[in-house]
């Protein structure tokens, strides 16, 4: 009886550990081998009690319009965004489709899914370090700031947000 109890207890704890490790594991390849791309973003700064201050990011490349023919796609359907580097270090969208694309040399793939008329890549929240939060928020509120997300992307298009760059200053806490 005691042994059974110990086994169930261990299984429940193991389940919780596996669930927690699975969260960053999905982005492991991007973390280890991912190439950095810089994407223009429009941030705003909410706060939650559980997670502290964070900037919610809207990516310029995430917009869906009628001409892409993707607005009728069901919610949650995968979207493939092809990116190419521009001269100023930013990456721009070449195409967006619901079919896996063929990439040309130098291009990168960003994998997302459709949600409320936009593409979501799972990198829409940037958690701010507490001591820098006020300064970053002030810069974010300035409409003229050049805000870029620093994103690591693996070959399959899975993305990991590694930092923010605001007017040329990089913020990459704890990575």
């Amino acid at each position: 009886m005691l042994r059974n109890r110990a086994v169930w207890y261990a299984l429940a704890v193991a389940l919780q550990v596996v669930v927690l490790l699975a969260m960053p594991w999905q982005k492991y390849d991007a973390l280890i081998d991912g190439a950095e791309v810089q994407l223009r973003v429009q941030p705003y700064d909410p706060m939650t009690f559980l997670s502290g201050r964070y900037a919610s990011l809207q990516y310029e490349v995430a917009g869906l319009s009628d001409d892409l023919g993707l607005l009728n796609l069901a919610e949650g359907e995968p979207l493939y965004c092809v990116l190419r580097p521009e001269a100023d270090g930013l990456w721009a969208r070449v195409s967006m489709s619901s079919q896996f694309p063929t990439l040309e040399p130098g291009q990168r793939l960003l994998l997302g899914y459709k949600e409320r008329g936009r593409a979501i890549f799972g990198i829409e929240s940037f958690f701010l370090p507490e001591e820098d939060a006020m300064g970053i928020e002030e810069k974010l509120r300035n409409r003229g700031s050049d805000c870029r997300a620093l994103v690591l992307v693996d070959d399959a298009g899975r993305a990991l947000l590694s930092g923010l760059m605001i007017d040329g200053v990089r913020y990459e806490p704890g990575q």
Binding site: L2, R5, A6, W8, Y9, L11, A12, V13, L15, Q16, V17, V19, L20, L21, M23, P24, K27, L31, T48, F49, L50, S51, G52, R53, Y54, I120, G122, I123, E124, S125, F126, F127, L128, P129, E130, E131, D132, L160, L161, S162, P173, G174, Q175
Partner: protein, 469 residues
């Protein structure tokens, strides 16, 4: 060691009485509350001294109700409450502390610290609850703290790796881990955390998402988090909280999808299901508290629904604005499944309900009112729904008062009085009846409540005195 074990054994042994009556490990009867056992412990020596009770009978009571364990149980409850309060405070502190982002630590170290803290707390919880020389209260608090750590870790892992996700996914993940831990430990506070997390996962999703079948699967999942746990561990709070969560989730689905079938057929069927489950539990052994919770929540759910449907304007608005397309498809299907389930349980509960004269009228009222409301809904008549609801409330109020008197239960009596008074006030406020009429009606209602209430309380006192003598 004899039946009484310690002090009680010695006390009665001194009087020359020492014969075992029941097994020393047998728990006290489930209906014996701590207050009742405390009163019994105080009265037994008096009754023996008066000669009302023989010493051997007193010893039998002492053993059956485990009166020697009373002191330890009370202390244990106090310490458990203290430990749980402390654990909850620590959990909140850790969440706030770690939410400050820890910018000075690399991600791998943060992950190690968070996982290590959680595993340490669980290891301590297991050791203190089950190892020799155990401290179950402290162990239970550690298990609760571990589950709070797990929930905090979900948010914090997302923060460390800047992972964005929905609240539904976050709370759903927390509910999954907490449910597994609740079943592994049998710890009711952990089950409560699992229920709260599961309900949040449900509530944070778009209410009007349109996928009724998926929402019903989620409601079923919510029920599965708490009902089997409550049944196995005889936990009344977990059972009541689960039923409440299921009812609110069902209501959210009905309102979010503007489904008349779910609101006026599914919801009353759910009330009948709760009530019938309570009757079934009452007929079985050892789950009186759960039975009461099921019956009260079932009746209360139907009463609230009837009250809402007693407003003609509201019913007309719902019928005219509802999405009939959805009604005829998934909403109707989900309501039909609920009705079928309620019917099955009600049929199973019919025999015990008929056997118990004190709940028979209430059971019959529920069995008539619920289908009546469904029939009126199916006919599409807003006037029919309104009339059935008002009439149903009057009957239900009256039957509740009768049940309260028959079972000598304040909850039934005062529930019925409250229902009738609320109905009267509402109708007089809703319609233009003139101030004189309103004034007279309210004064008459107030006098009736005071007079009948005083009569009922007097009746209760007389009955209890006669039981005692």
């Amino acid at each position: 060691m004899g039946v009484l074990g310690t002090a009680g054994q010695a006390r009665y042994a001194r009087r020359g009485v020492n014969h075992p009556v029941t097994h020393p490990d047998a728990p006290p009867p489930p209906h014996a509350t701590v207050a009742f056992r405390r009163g019994l412990a105080a009265h037994l020596p008096l009754w023996v001294a008066e000669g009302t009770l023989t010493e051997s009978a007193a010893e039998a009571f002492h053993a059956r109700y485990q009166l020697d364990a009373l002191g330890a149980e009370t202390r244990g409850r106090f310490w458990a409450a203290l430990y749980i309060f402390g654990a909850a405070l620590i959990g909140l502190g850790v969440i706030a502390l770690v939410a400050s982002s820890w910018p000075f630590l690399p991600a791998a170290v943060k992950v190690g610290v968070l996982l290590g803290a959680m595993l340490l707390v669980y290891a301590l919880g297991y050791r203190w609850r089950h190892a020799p020389g155990n401290r179950p209260g402290l162990g239970l608090a550690m298990e609760l703290l571990g589950v709070l750590f797990f929930g905090a870790n979900i948010g914090l892992f997302g923060q460390i790796f800047h992972l964005s996700g929905s609240y539904t996914a976050g709370f759903g993940t927390w509910a999954l881990g907490a449910t597994a831990m609740a079943y592994a430990t049998g710890c009711a506070p952990v089950a409560v955390v699992a229920l709260i997390a599961a309900f949040n996962a449900f509530a944070w999703e778009d209410w009007g998402a349109g996928n009724v079948v998926w929402r019903m699967v989620q409601v079923l999942g919510l029920a599965l988090v708490g009902v089997p746990f409550a049944f196995w561990h005889r936990s009344v709070p977990v059972f009541a909280l689960t039923l409440l969560g299921v009812a609110v989730a069902y209501l959210i689905t009905a309102v979010g999808n503007e489904s008349v079938a779910l609101l006026f057929c599914g919801m009353p069927a759910l009330g009948l299901l709760f009530f019938a489950s309570g009757v079934l539990l009452l007929a079985g052994p050892g789950r009186t508290g759960m039975a009461r919770a099921g019956m009260i929540l079932g009746v209360a759910g139907v009463a609230v629904l009837l009250y809402v449907a007693s407003f003609l304007g509201f019913v007309e608005g719902v019928l005219s604005e509802a999405s009939y397309k959805d009604d005829q498809q998934t909403g109707g299907l989900a309501a039909a499944v609920t009705v079928a389930l309620a019917l099955l349980v009600a049929l199973a509960a019919a025999k015990p309900a008929l056997r118990d004269a004190s709940i028979r009228p209430l059971a019959a009222t529920m069995a008539v009112l619920v289908p009546l409301l469904m029939l009126c809904t199916l006919s599409g008549s807003s006037l029919g729904i309104m009339l059935a609801s008002n009439g149903g409330l009057v009957v239900l109020g009256g039957v509740l008062i009768w049940t309260g008197v028959a079972r000598e239960a304040r909850s039934g009596y005062w529930g019925g009085v409250l229902l009738l008074a609320l109905l009267l006030l509402t109708r007089f406020m809703e319609y233009d009846t003139g101030l004189l009429m309103k004034g007279l009606a309210f004064i008459a209602a107030g006098l009736a409540v005071l007079y009948t209430g005083a009569k009922f309380e007097g009746y209760l006192d007389r009955r209890r005195t006669s039981h005692a003598s």
